[in-house]
């Protein structure tokens, strides 16, 4: 089990680019909700991270 006091955000997936003001991590724009989830799932597996959803519709992938 990896231990980390703070989890870093590894990537962001959104369907609305206006919701992202600035990002220091890879930010991917999806066409719709289905594609957003698919990309988030693939990124989560690739980066061995956790996938979380925010109430505004943005999906973030964090360090496990």
């Amino acid at each position: 089990m990896k231990e980390s006091s703070t989890r870093s955000i590894l990537a962001i997936v959104t369907v609305d680019e206006k919701l992202i003001i600035d990002a220091g991590v890879p930010t991917i724009l999806a066409k719709n909700k289905e594609e957003q989830e698919e990309i988030a799932s693939q990124l989560g597996r690739t980066l061995a991270g956790n996938v979380y959803g925010l109430t505004n519709g943005i999906i973030i992938i964090t360090q496990e």
């Binding site: 089990m1 959803g53 925010l54 109430t55 999906i59």
Partner: protein, 296 residues
Amino acid sequence: MQEKGLLDLTIVLYILSGTTVGFVGRWLMLKSDIRQYPTYPNGYLIHLTTGFIASAIGAVAYPALLSKNYVAVTFLAIAIQQFRDIRKMEKESLTSMEKENYFPRGESYIDGIAKTFEARNYIVMISSLITTISIFLLREYIKNKFIIIGVSSVIGLTIIKLLRDYTKGHTIRDIADIEEATIEFRDKDNLYVGDIYVMNIGLSETRERIIENGIGIILKPKGENEKVILNHRGQRTAIIHECTRILGLERYVSTRKNFDNGEVALLIVPIIKDIELLKEIVRNVPILETLKKKEN
């Protein structure tokens, strides 16, 4: 000891009796709790062997002192050092396996297990010593040596039972009630077990999988002290470890505390989905020795 004493078969019989009582005691203690490590043949052999040595040292000590062989005390001191090394060895062995477990045991749990093994050797040694002392004391009053051995063995086994009961810990069963709880998602992504927020899941497929295969339970502490114990990180790690060890882990396992009432929610997506078994596992998780408190 005089040479004549060494060859005295009666003395050898007395020492063997003390050793046997200790060894049988160690055997019984191994079988007493199959949930704890070791439950494997090699583990049995290692602990029975060290138990035999401990009982032999305990049984020999008194006859050796009677013959003014004070080196016996040194042997006891060396034995204690050896048992401390066993504790260290157990600790290292369990720690080295941490990364390969479904979920780690945690340092507090490992420390407790290692101390238990060390303590069991002392129980064996003390019981063998008392058995042999009883034999030598009863010899003054009873002439039939088989009666002497029989009575002393009962005394030795009673000592084992008393010490085992004294060192026996409590389990979650004693401090908390366990109830099954519903698993649901609120605000799309937030997973709740009962009314306790547990985690955020961003993918709809994963959410469906958790709803389908997940189990949620709530641990309700019986009092204020119990709240303190349940909220301890090491204790919660031990609970999760036992659940995942027996049921396997498909993906998610987590615990969360309700700050208002001290209840703890446990969510697990196990390989074997059996709610009754899960509740029984949690009830039988030992309370870590470092968390025990005296009642006010």
